[in-house]
Amino acid sequence: MTVFIIRRLMQSAIVVFVMSFLVFGGVNIVGDPVEMMVSDEADQEERERVIKSMGLDKPWYIQYGKFVTNALQGDLGNSFVYGEPALQIIVQRMPATFELAFVSLLMSIIIGIPFGVWAGLFPERFSSKLIMSGSIVGFSLPTFWVGLMMIMVFAVMLGWLPSTGRGDTVIVFGMELSFFTPDGLSHIFLPALNLALFNTSLVIRLTRAGVREAIHMDYIKFARAKGLSYRRVIMVHLMKNIMIPVVTVLGLEFGGLIAFSVVTETVFAWPGMGKLIIESIQNLDRPIIVAYLMIIVLVFVVINLVVDILYSILDPRVRLQDVSS
């Protein structure tokens, strides 16, 4: 297990390094930040002063070398727009995005698993068919449109829930969180539900497929032959087996939620990383974009590791070891 984790961490380091190269290279080719930064009336001298101050006069490999050296020391450069360290700006926005992703993940589990189990146990019932059709809708409707409709219905027409912002927050473990105040909860509900829509549909379909497959297995019949209650057969014998694919997919989707909450954060004006990255792309704020992408890579790497470990807990047949592939 320890060997496995160390090995995975080393692999991750390589992934992060390659990614840093790609990201830096990609961002360097796009656009000219100087155009954005300098006012139209600035003369050539002024322009050159700015270029020099941002280190843009050096060849790309020197810039990259400097970037890597600084990055290893936790310095991903100063934002062109804010003039503050890029990492610091992103880290400030991180709790909001993580909180949104986490609540949305929770929602998709709480809604998706019971519905999926129901649809799997009683596939012929009308309610199950309704659930399955609903999941197709959840898959196919674009997030931004659903978000706008939610705002229209619940915020504008009914006035039940606020449409933008985070509401009251409290500091928990040094992070600002909306989850623990009633006002914050009312603010997070709509964006989280919006973000959860796709994953809920995914969980419903995965769970249903798992139930349909596992219910005919001999071990389920044997569990029933042992005289166990229906509840125990479903909740323990069935659930533990179908959780394996669900956890795998949800783990990977959690990374996706963080990385792609961009649309939802924009629609609901949620002050997270996604909104920041959109603004930074518009401003060609290169250090922020690079820092953001690097953090997302790290998040994915960590999540994959956690999923592998969870997997071994759920399925005793999986032993974590370095598989030579």
Binding site: K221, F222, A225, G227, L228, N241, P316
Partner: protein, 334 residues
């Protein structure tokens, strides 16, 4: 040596289990009757699709849709189990009537430890038992079926056992609540022959010691010959011949039983062509009019177009045939 009790542990009367499929109604079990006395082992023999497994599941109430028990009675100690409320049936399952399945690789839940799977079987029927007592009973049960180091094995997962060991665990689970009846659905088919011998020996010993009755479902006549007290041969969802094991095997009366026995390769048939019953087992969806075996039977004639009833041409024997082999001197397989 079986003690004939006046009241059998299990009596099945005219059991009918049908499967209502899109292709039509399959009469998987059609009018099966037999009884199993206390401590008695009955072999239920037949080809694949003869309805023997469905008979087992019908007794324990685990026939899944589209199947359904549509008629007959399953009398356990005189109480009819057909139509019994789910909760009462659940209390009997795994407690008074246990079942062992065919494939030991599939019967244990792969993600639960053996102790969990054993303890829950005890607690499902008696929640007042403490966890410690349940564990102790589980350990004893594992020891009884010949699993070494049961203390360690309790904490293992099923994939850490071999096939034979898993089947022993399944048998240990079936025995946990000291049931009156065990239905064993081809429990040794997936095991190799030496393991099969050990399992048979254990099963026979346990039945003798505890007075547990057993229905041993198999297609292997050699297994039944060494194990059972009585035998019931099924074909096309119906019982075609039943009686005490030695009577039936020594002097089979039904042409199908004779065919089955003739198909067993013997030590003195070396070098000769093996006997086989011509044709194939009929589809349950499309059984012929009258006797189900007529198309493959050397003795079939017009009389077989009418469904024969179970008769008792010899005392203690049931035969469903229009032309039974009542002459003891006829050669088997002819």
């Amino acid at each position: 040596m079986s003690v004939k009790d006046t009241s059998p542990t299990l009596e099945v009367r005219n059991l009918q289990t049908h499967f209502f499929t899109k292709a039509g109604d399959a009469k998987a079990v059609d009018g099966v009757s037999f009884s199993v006395g206390k401590g008695e082992i009955m072999g239920l023999v037949g080809e694949s699709g003869s309805g023997k497994s469905v008979t087992g599941f019908s007794i324990i109430g685990l026939v899944d849709p589209p199947g359904n028990v549509v008629g007959g009675e399953v009398l356990y100690n005189g109480k009819n189990l057909v139509g019994l409320p789910d909760e009462q049936m659940r209390q009997l399952r795994g407690n008074r009537i246990a079942m062992i399945f065919q494939d030991p690789m599939m019967t244990l839940n792969p993600v639960l430890r053996v102790d969990t799977q054993m303890v829950e079987t005890i607690l499902a029927h008696d929640p007042s038992v403490s966890k410690q007592d349940a564990l102790a009973r589980s350990r004893d049960a594992l020891g009884r079926v010949g699993i070494p180091a049961p203390d360690e094995r309790l904490r293992s997962y099923p994939h850490q056992f071999s096939g034979g060991m898993r089947q022993r665990v399944a048998i240990a689970i079936a025995l946990l609540n000291k049931p009156d009846l065990i239905i064993a659905d081809e429990p040794t088919t997936a095991l190799d022959v030496t393991i099969q011998g050990q399992i048979l020996y254990e099963a026979q010993k346990l039945c003798r010691e505890t007075g547990t009755s057993m229905i041993w479902i198999t297609h292997d006549l050699a297994v039944v010959a060494g194990l059972a007290d009585s035998i019931c041969v099924m074909y096309g969802g119906r019982v075609v011949e039943q009686g005490l094991i030695n009577d039936v095997l020594d002097h089979p009366v039904h042409p199908y039983t004779r065919g089955l026995l003739g198909s067993v390769p013997g030590a003195n048939s070396r070098g000769t062509r093996l006997y086989q019953i011509p044709g194939m087992a009929p589809s349950l969806l499309n059984l012929p009019q009258g006797c189900a075996f007529q198309a493959r039977c050397p003795r079939a004639d017009e009389a077989c177009l009418v469904e024969p009833q179970i008769t008792e041409p010899i005392a203690g024997r049931g035969v469903r045939c229009c032309h039974p082999h009542l002459n003891a001197e006829e050669e088997i397989g002819a």
